[in-house]
Symmetry: C2
Subunit: 338 residues, 2 copies
């Protein structure tokens, strides 16, 4: 019975989230019952959606309960099994949460998935070939549905979702323009991820400036947009949108901490005959096999090799998470647990 460290949600943020919202505890892992599997987590995924779960009230998912282990995606290996379908050493991805081990019902469909690490690094199953990658795929393929030659924009372009979006969009013959924070990330987005252009939102912090930057980067206007951030970026995209432009609304991270951030001029949705659609990829399980197959092939062939930010040890998770919310990470944010 190995010792298991866990991070619980101790109390809810008042405005900005802080390290004091979390609490680290430790206990022995329980003895397995028939049908159960003990998974040792190698990596924990940190994702912006977790901030939304920390708030009380109406959101797209049940809020994270106080005193419970923080929700989160994990990859690891089967450490002990009392279920015939799972063998010790199997590489698995699941939703193990912010802890070192999890006990999983081996019969429950979808809780654990075996993964092949021969061509794809294990950690990528939390990023490019995991939930963030499928998120990019869904927004691009199911909502934006681009034609070759169209211009697409994605905010948070250097992150896990944005980098996958770029590779998927380039594979479809689109012009892809990223938005990211700071010159280092912007250079990474164009030079390493292969975007056609990248706009530094720190250098374009107001609507007018961002709209001008988008005009320069998108001389033919914007046909599709993948929104991870909200706020003045979305306002500016609407000003540069072409007729029949499509917006996949995936994150509104800019508004997590306080008052709602308004959309400045929604009449542009009508003027441009646009479609804006919000989605949660975990409700769209039917697309995962197709999306994961394409993403895995992009990784295996070297066309998608996004960067990772790796924090070391479970205790580092809260600070890494708070940094992610402020854009301090560079690429997919992970916590390495062993």
């Amino acid at each position: 019975m190995p010792r298991n460290q866990q991070i619980l949600l101790d109390n809810r943020p008042q405005g900005e989230a802080t390290a004091g919202n979390f609490r680290l505890v430790a206990s022995d892992t329980p003895a397995l019952q028939d049908g159960q599997v003990l998974v040792r987590h190698h990596y924990l995924s940190l994702d912006p959606y977790m901030r939304g779960r920390m708030n009380e009230g109406k959101s797209y998912a049940a809020c994270q309960s106080l005193g419970q282990v923080m929700i989160g995606g994990t990859v690891g290996e089967v450490a002990e099994s009392r279920h015939p379908a799972w063998a010790v050493g199997d590489a698995v991805v699941g939703m193990g949460g912010w802890q070192e081990y999890s006990v999983v019902d081996g019969n429950a469909p979808g809780l654990l998935r075996k993964v092949d690490t021969s061509h794809v690094p294990l950690s990528y199953y939390l990023g490019a070939v995991g939930m963030p990658g499928v998120t990019a795929w869904y927004g691009l393929v199911q909502i934006i549905d681009p034609k070759p030659g169209e211009t697409l924009v994605v905010s948070a372009a250097s992150g896990a979702v944005g980098s996958a979006f770029g590779a998927l969009a380039k594979a479809r013959g689109c012009r892809v323009v990223g938005i990211a924070g700071g010159p280092d990330k912007c250079h990474y987005v164009t030079d390493e991820l292969g975007f056609d252009a990248c706009i530094d939102h720190r250098a374009h912090g107001d609507l007018k400036s961002m709209a001008a930057a988008l005009k320069e980067a998108c001389p033919d206007g914007i046909d599709g947009h993948f929104e991870n951030v909200g706020g003045h970026i979305l306002d500016a995209v609407l000003l540069r949108a072409n007729a029949f432009a499509r917006v996949a609304l995936c994150g509104m991270i800019a508004g997590y901490d306080g008052q709602p951030l308004p959309l400045h001029n929604p009449a542009l949705i009508l003027i441009n005959r646009m479609k804006i659609e919000g989605f949660i990829v975990s409700e769209q399980m039917q697309v995962w096999p197709q999306a994961l197959a394409e993403l895995g092939a992009l990784v295996a062939s070297g066309r998608l090799r996004p960067r990772e930010s790796i924090a070391q040890g479970l205790a580092a998770a809260p600070e890494a998470f708070l940094g992610l919310l402020k854009g301090k990470n560079f690429g997919k944010q992970l916590v390495k647990l062993i």
Copy 2:
């Protein structure tokens, strides 16, 4: 060569539109050339979209040129014809504009359409069985795509689009809630148009009050919304929207005169996984035959007999139009020209 009165756009509104933006002129109708048809207009349609055309700048259509006859739908009869397909006395619908006569190229596809007045009054081809009716149909069928039992909301419910929306939605087994201005219109919407409930937006002029009224009228939440107005009504609908709710964005009349009206909390589009889609029915000609067939059948069977506000004589058009923008009309606003 009968005398033809015309109303031109003389100058563009600064803020609110006024009668001084228009100018009435008269001239002889020109002699017809081969292939041309002279149409005498019986009714001119007044519609909110015309206000948008009066502004300069980016909109969904070329703006109305200064010094030209105001654009507008008309029904009338062929008064003279030099085209074999059109006979004197044919009842026709077209886009004749704010004038008593128009000369039309009889060969141009779509400019004129013959209509049958045996079961449908001629004026209805400008309303329930015309552009407003097809607008309601498109938003309902192509964007909202409702299931029986769902709750749908429509603003400007007593108007031409709203009344058609109500009849189409009831025919699909939905609960339909209208929003209209004043108790008379609200009673008309429930008692004569057959809506399940109607909210007086004058009695609920702020977000909180409108949201509370929607909660009462839509105890199971809102699954679909047809937006003709914008402003705090759309904000309130987002607060009461169910997961996967759909919004057809057809008009943002509240914002025509001045500064853009913001959308208070666009994060709700994501939280509710909503779709918001703007459209212009004149770009969707492929649906017109199917839509007109259903609307004509609803009228012929008495299930859709909306009210009309009829101004008399072309000179009355500007005041009637300004009244329409302020909600002074009751039902479809027309100008009777003969």
